[in-house]
Homo-oligomer: 360 residues x 2
């Protein structure tokens, strides 16, 4: 995960096998940085659509230095083995959601050239599928897991790291078994919970759904995803997933018992709040940025705080947190505005210019 | 739910009791349309913050025509009863998430003036709380449930309907018991599922969370909400909620059984997909708009479809759906672009101008 500021280098042509949402998006992102991309799909019309979108060419390559296998989980091991054999000097990666089972299948089959294979997994997708749902920016700022195994060659690992950088993703490296435990928790479990929530929308009067709000839409968005794909993912990662789901059932029983008895269930709700705080920032930030508080005197008059927000907004400095102190008996309040430390002076100047009294 | 194009009329001053997220947002939205708004909160600093934001004035009103009670669920009945007594000619509503229990409490206590009370519930909120999280646009395009009871006077009902219209919400009317069943399904169940998902983020290595993607963030967003508020909501609506949660437990057992046996679980996943399709459009649309397909010939060359998307995008007409037909053996594909029928001609003209061959 060490930052590397040099431009990514992808030597030679890339072959993408599988032109669905992820494969086509990889092609679009690579084409943008000038890589030579070739496209192949078991359904030729998908490859042609990807080509028409600008993700690369359906012309067969003469040579290949990197193969990206972007097929459904059930076919990954077979297609990776085929690619290693077809291109005996190329590095091969795949982008499937589960990493240990295909590696074990390849190893137990005695696949030759396994030192040229390393699995990877971009943590980006969509509830939509197919090439027309693809986007050249799908991976920007998203985590891209690369999962080295003991036998992988450094040169192969380097190529796949460069792939992740070239599409704008944030590189995260961990062993395949760790990866599968991690995605069971942060991806496969939420998928199941979203599905179970959406399933319960059946069975009530249709007009009840007129009360649907943004919370329901957010919780159920990913439940619209392709069931065939997800059956394969959940099956491939069933061992860690089942353990987590048993934990959910225990929590659910505890909650049901608490609600039925009219007992305090705040501890269950509180564990949920604490859980959301464990999720890192959206842009691959590894830790909370350093914040500085800017204090602003605010006349205790209607609309003054609104005016402060507008002025702060126009300064272009993002407000990370806010607190209001009312000093009882004084005609002025104090707003404490937390911003990233390196922007504090900029905010202070902008507010002072607009007539506010500020102090750090 | 009949549309009404006349401007909303809120006669006389409005008193908002409770200046948290929802109360303050009501004040901001009403202030925007010129209503006289007075603010009160058991914690006076909340009312002062709301005033500083421009949501109204903390000056006590001389007269009140509408009281909006925006306090936590446990206090609704008590505060509504107090408001009916304090303002003997005012209409009183509340904005709490559960509607039958406070009505029953008021009725069984023999509260005088109940014909001036009708409950309501805006389907809008945030995982953040307090007046500084408020927004004058919180209710725009959102459903606002109004829940008449048998004894309510027409004039009271009219006032509360006008309130919903004045803040830009879409009016939905249903009896209090129906409302509570509906929100158990579309709001309280998703809340619990979000909490249970976020709770499971504990217990794994912290670096696993580096793989968190947008799906996890969406599913767990509302789990960050105030546990004290949600304990009150879930407790107040426990009867329908418990029934739904038992159904979830059955579904979860079925899924666990299927995953452990390696059996097909696509039907469970498919029920989830179908469930998401039951949710109406974001802007209170009651039905799918009429669509027309525009067919466009696309040369089967790299980037042509991307160019078509850009040209279609620049036409300003929103693409509702898209399908590609590849006629094998011909050097041209056909893109079928579905748009709202009233915009089809506009898209056709724009594309023809840019050199595309189109037909309807």
């Amino acid at each position: 995960m060490s930052p590397d500021a040099s431009p990514p280098t992808l030597a030679g042509p890339v072959l993408i096998i599988g032109c669905g949402l992820v494969g086509t998006s990889v092609g679009l992102a690579l084409a943008r940085v000038g890589a030579a991309v070739h496209l192949r799909d078991a359904q030729p019309e998908h490859a042609r659509t990807a080509q028409m979108l600008g993700a690369g060419t359906t012309e067969p390559p003469e040579s290949v230095s990197l193969v990206v296998v972007a097929v459904p989980p059930d076919f990954v091991a077979e297609v990776v083995a085929g690619a290693l054999a077809e291109w005996p000097t190329a590095v091969v990666t795949d982008v499937a959601s589960v990493k240990l089972p295909p590696l074990e299948a390849l190893a137990s089959a005695g696949t030759e050239g396994l030192e040229r294979y390393v699995g990877s997994h971009p943590m980006a997708g969509s509830e939509r599928s197919g090439p027309t749902a693809a986007s050249e920016t799908l991976f920007e700022g998203r985590a891209w897991a690369v999962t080295p195994h003991a036998a992988v060659a450094d040169t192969a690992l380097h190529q796949v790291r460069e792939l992740a950088r070239a599409v704008g993703a944030t590189l995260v490296e961990m062993p395949p078994d760790e990866h599968d435990l991690a995605v069971a928790r942060v991806s496969h479990l939420p998928q199941v919970m979203s599905v179970l929530t959406a399933s319960r929308l059946h069975g009530g009067p249709a007009d009840h759904l007129a009360l649907a709000g943004q919370g329901l839409r957010d919780v159920t968005r990913i439940a619209a995803s392709d069931p065939v794909l997800w059956r394969q993912i959940l099956h491939a990662n069933r061992l860690p997933l089942v353990e987590l789901l048993r934990g959910v059932r225990d929590d659910l029983d505890e909650l049901l018992d608490g609600i039925e008895r009219g007992q305090v269930i705040e501890d269950v709700l509180g564990r949920g709040v604490a859980g959301t705080r464990l999720i890192p920032g959206k842009h691959g930030e590894e830790s909370t940025p350093a914040l500085t508080s800017v204090f602003v005197q605010v006349p205790d008059q209607p609309g003054e705080l609104g005016r402060l927000f507008r002025d702060a907004g126009e300064s272009g400095v993002n407000i990370e947190d806010l607190r209001i102190d009312h000093d009882l008996g004084r005609p002025v309040g104090v707003a404490e505005i937390a911003v990233r430390s390196e922007r504090a002076e900029e905010l202070t100047s902008a507010l002072t210019e607009r007539g506010w009294t500020t102090y750090l």
